[in-house]
Symmetry: C2
Subunit: 303 residues, 2 copies
């Protein structure tokens, strides 16, 4: 098909045709669908050339602010609901397994290894918080030695990577549950926080009069041999933003009570001379098996 | 509308609803349409989480390779036909005016000023080429003192900004047509060339088994008081890629013969001791007036 003198639908057909010989059939399906929808978008709104330039500039700024500590494209996908849509597409079937939610932009490879029961705060500001529970199967049996990645914002509402002057990880780590499925770590009480306002995505939310707030949560990414991985959050019950999450990530099954305690001996035997908090949450993993229908694409882990 | 426990269409509705109070009505129209089409795309192809990550990585790489000399997002828009679609949407009505085509990724602000008749090559490799014509109105009258930006690839198929070791502009410049509308400059003969293959867009074309070639052309951006600006190319007639342009930019009205001459005195009086080429092309501008229907959005200039 000639690429000359094309207008509107003809042009779209020519672009689709140019993508008719891709190396991978799946890639071809994706890129052709993307072309169809992008063209339909531009046509539907009759995008002006000035608006097209503004879009190019927005993507350029988003690329330039993204580095190994900040992922503004993921943030963009999150606030447009695309991330949560993809989570939904890949974890469709009802199940008692812990549901997935958005991965978010703040995961960092190579978090500190901590022993079961240790503290991941590493000096992060905030009141102490004991997080514990079990990793179990959908039938309630212990999943031994699950690998658990956790990361969270501190009492200032910031992840470690958002503190410009900080080179040490804080409020993140990975541990292994015991043979009985039990896991336990100390951290700080999670707080609600605004997603970063100083980049293009923050400006997009401001121009939309949208709240940047996310309800308090702790990120979990749990993997265990023979089970589907799960990337999710545990949200703090009672948070005022549970019904207005800027990234649409809240599911009722992921909400757990955050309990306040007076100074004294905590459930794990640690003595505290300040008030502290606790969260109990069991992670339920589906079998990584064709006979288990709780997930379509083998979990949501990157690995 | 609560953002909790949303799946599929419900989620899309919630995201649309979150964008229902934008500061600008036009921004709201655009972002809501974008959300609708992006969600439909992800749903239609049942995008997996791995594919979503690949998309995030692709955009990140595209952002990181983009700088003040390279615009990979424009290149992406070009090869997906979005740029040409937007050109079409904004210059819909038939007219004898010179049609627009893609802006492309190689424009640089602040090109050298040259006098009418001077050489823009500045050492760019290639056989000399005399480019001349008139800037006229749709009724054939001279448009005096039009501002003409021109830029082009050299005989190696590269723009100056693609030569890593080059700090001087080559093969680009701006000049003013005379009061009689006549413009004239020397440069080098334009050649067909592949769009950059060393970035994410090059990989996308390779994975699609698509040719990266563009037919030989010279970029023009012409502005004149009282007229609609035009951003376009003049293509070399006979080029083998006129019907398979990687960015879908060719229009028949933009093709001009490239004539070879033996050494001697050129049309502008310059004496050449090597063979040279010439292109004649008249730029026809539409009035910048509501009564002229040749364009919808006031031309395609950035300025």
């Amino acid at each position: 098909m000639s690429t000359r003198n094309l207008a509107d639908e003809e042009l779209t057909q020519a672009v689709l045709s140019s993508f008719s010989g891709c190396r991978s059939e799946r890639f071809q399906e994706i890129i052709q669908s993307l072309v169809r929808h992008l063209h339909a978008f531009a046509s539907d709104v009759e995008l002006t050339e000035e608006e097209w330039f503004a879009g190019i500039d927005f993507l350029t700024q988003t690329g330039h602010i993204t580095d190994d500590k900040r992922q503004e494209f993921i943030l963009l996908s999150d606030v447009l609901g695309v991330s949560m849509l993809v989570v939904g597409l890949n974890h469709r079937k009802p199940s008692v397994a812990t549901p997935s939610t958005v991965f978010g932009p703040f995961f960092v490879e190579g978090s500190p290894r901590v022993a079961n029961g240790e503290d991941i705060a590493n000096g992060a500001p905030g009141e102490p918080c004991l997080v514990q529970g079990r990793v179990i199967s959908v039938s309630g049996e212990a999943v031994p030695q699950a690998h658990i990645e956790v990361w969270q914002a501190d009492d200032d509402g910031l992840y470690d990577v958002q503190h410009a002057d900080l080179s040490e990880p804080r409020g993140r780590g990975h541990l292994y549950a015991g043979d009985d499925g039990r896991y336990c770590f100390w951290s700080v009480k999670p707080t609600a926080y605004p997603i970063p306002a100083d980049g293009p995505v923050g400006k997009l939310l401001a121009n939309s009069n949208r709240s940047p707030m996310r309800p308090a949560h702790i990120h979990f990414m749990v993997t265990a041999r023979g089970y589907q991985s799960v990337t999710t959050h545990v949200f703090a019950d009672g948070d005022p933003y549970l019904d207005s999450d800027a990234v649409f990530g809240v599911k009722s099954e992921l909400i757990a009570p955050l309990t306040r305690h007076q100074p004294g001996r905590a459930a794990d035997g640690r003595d505290l001379d300040v008030p502290y908090w606790s969260i109990n949450y069991d992670i339920v993993l589906a079998l990584d098996d064709a006979s288990d229908m709780s997930g379509r694409a083998g979990g949501s882990s990157r690995r």
